[in-house]
């Protein structure tokens, strides 16, 4: 075997060794990144427990007044486990949240509302036809609203039909029509939604529990400036993580596009 025959074989092995080196480097980086995720997960869990135990001062006093309306979106798979939802509501009540909109796309929580209201002391069903003032003497009370996908697009379509009807009536009686083409402002649609039985209150914060980072069909009309936080699985929810998310929200400054 002379030198010319040896060259291709040599370059092949050099290439293979180079590939192996790169592969090892890639796996090393993979290990480092995986370890980083594990460590940060452990850190997160420790932090969450420390917050739960009240060891971290800044989470002990939260300006809960800023959170007037909270939305909680629950994946349908966990919505069946109502006990977790009840625990969550009790935690929210402890924190001082006054109004919670509980959403799951299929309306499973709506079906269990009586049980949920019974199991959460101090909870009341939010009978909503308009904005509700939260007066200070309602301390220890949490208003719960049960929402599903039918309150989203279906409700807007019904409200659109009401506006259509109103417009057609005003066309038939032009002398009674004071607004003319102005039946289509945001406040008109708000009013039409209230007629249909929908709450139009905009949540300040939305917590999403589930595998997907999506609001899963929460009423779109209400989501304009809502802060959205993905909390992971409801099965592994932690009080500390909940407190941390709410605390972070109280520090957010919105400029509303201006």
């Amino acid at each position: 075997m002379d030198f010319n025959d040896l060259m291709p074989l040599l370059s092949f092995w050099i290439g293979q060794i180079g590939d192996l080196g790169l592969d090892l480097l890639w796996r090393f980086i993979h290990i480092v990144v995986s370890l980083w995720h594990i460590v940060s997960g452990i850190f997160e869990a420790i932090l969450s427990n420390a917050i739960s135990l009240g060891l971290i001062q800044k989470y002990s006093a939260i300006d809960i007044e800023k959170l007037r309306c909270l939305a909680v979106v629950v994946d349908i798979e966990v919505a069946r486990d109502v006990s977790k939802v009840i625990d969550l509501l009790q935690w929210l009540k402890t924190i001082g949240v006054k109004q919670v909109g509980l959403f799951d796309s299929q309306g499973l929580l709506k079906k269990s509302k009586d049980m949920i209201l019974e199991m959460v002391p101090g909870s009341m069903l939010l009978q909503e036809t308009g904005e509700k003032d939260i007066s200070p003497d309602r301390k220890g009370i949490i208003d719960i609203e049960f929402i599903s996908s039918s309150d989203n697009k279906e409700a807007v379509v019904k409200a659109a039909n009401i506006l259509l009807e109103k417009h057609l009536k005003s066309n038939n009686h032009p002398e009674k029509d004071e607004e003319g083409d102005n039946v289509f402002t945001e406040s008109h649609l708000n009013e039409a939604l209230r007629v249909v039985g929908e709450n139009v209150r905009v949540p300040d914060l939305m917590l999403v529990y589930g595998p997907v980072r999506s609001h899963l069909g929460f009423p779109a009309w209400r989501l304009r400036y809502t802060e959205i936080v993905h909390m992971g699985s409801l099965k592994y929810m932690r009080y500390g993580s909940l407190l941390k998310a709410i605390h972070k929200f109280t520090g957010v400054r919105q400029n509303y596009g201006v």
């Binding site: 807007v156 402002t185 899963l216 929460f218 779109a220 989501l223 596009g257």
Partner: protein, 289 residues
Amino acid sequence: MLSLLCCFLFFLSFLVHSCLRLRTQAKRSLKDEKEIDEGAYVVGEEETPTRLLRELMPRHVAVIMDGNRRWAERAGLLTSQGHEAGAKRLLEFAELCFKLGIETVSAFAFSTENWGRHKIEVKCLMSLIQRYLKSKIQFFQSEEIRVSVIGNLEKIPESLLGIIKETEEATMRYKKKHLILAIDYSGRSDILHACKSIVKKSQQGLIREEDVDETLFEQELLTKCTEFPSPDLLIRTSGEQRISNFLLWQLAYTELFFSPVLWPDFDKYKFLEALISYQRRERRFGCRI
């Protein structure tokens, strides 16, 4: 001594495993791997940490390009330069999306609420959009990118309206790649506009009251210009975690990806992160599996 031995054995098994993997990889041909970029990632048939599956690519990606002003501030530049960098980033982003097989890209370029900003900034933004659209018409045509603009457009300067119309007309025939720019757009106004449109059609006898349902309503929204009005993935940069009145109706089951990076810094690697996150999610569209 024992720990050293364990390390050595671990390393040896690792080495052997790697060699075996190399042999099988060498047998696999490069036919099922397509180079998309300068080695940043490839799109193939199987999923690996660096690879994206073509069949799991979103069809429609929406982006809220937040952070141009903060980027300019941090870089010691003018706000207008921040917006310039943002516009450049958008074109790069759109090109990358189309290369990856994503058919529709929607960008929130200017919201109705943005009219409340300083007059000079608004004027700069309008001028920037006009300049970019005018200078890129040929590019859009050569790349066969359809450009649509959605929004109220009543307050838009005439000169910009003219350029928008020209761009839309020049690119209307292209089907495979669609860039939608939301200018003077508000999600709530979009819904109201659909209501008005329904009333108008009802007055003209084109639809009956009982025909009004979700499907019909969706066809009256401003996103009717695209086959896929609902984005699969929404990316918002700069760390803000809200949708700020963008495509409210259309985002029901959209995967939301909030990146802490400012928009002009949102490069292909950050986008890769968003796509990997998207492809790993189990989207159920509100149903049980």
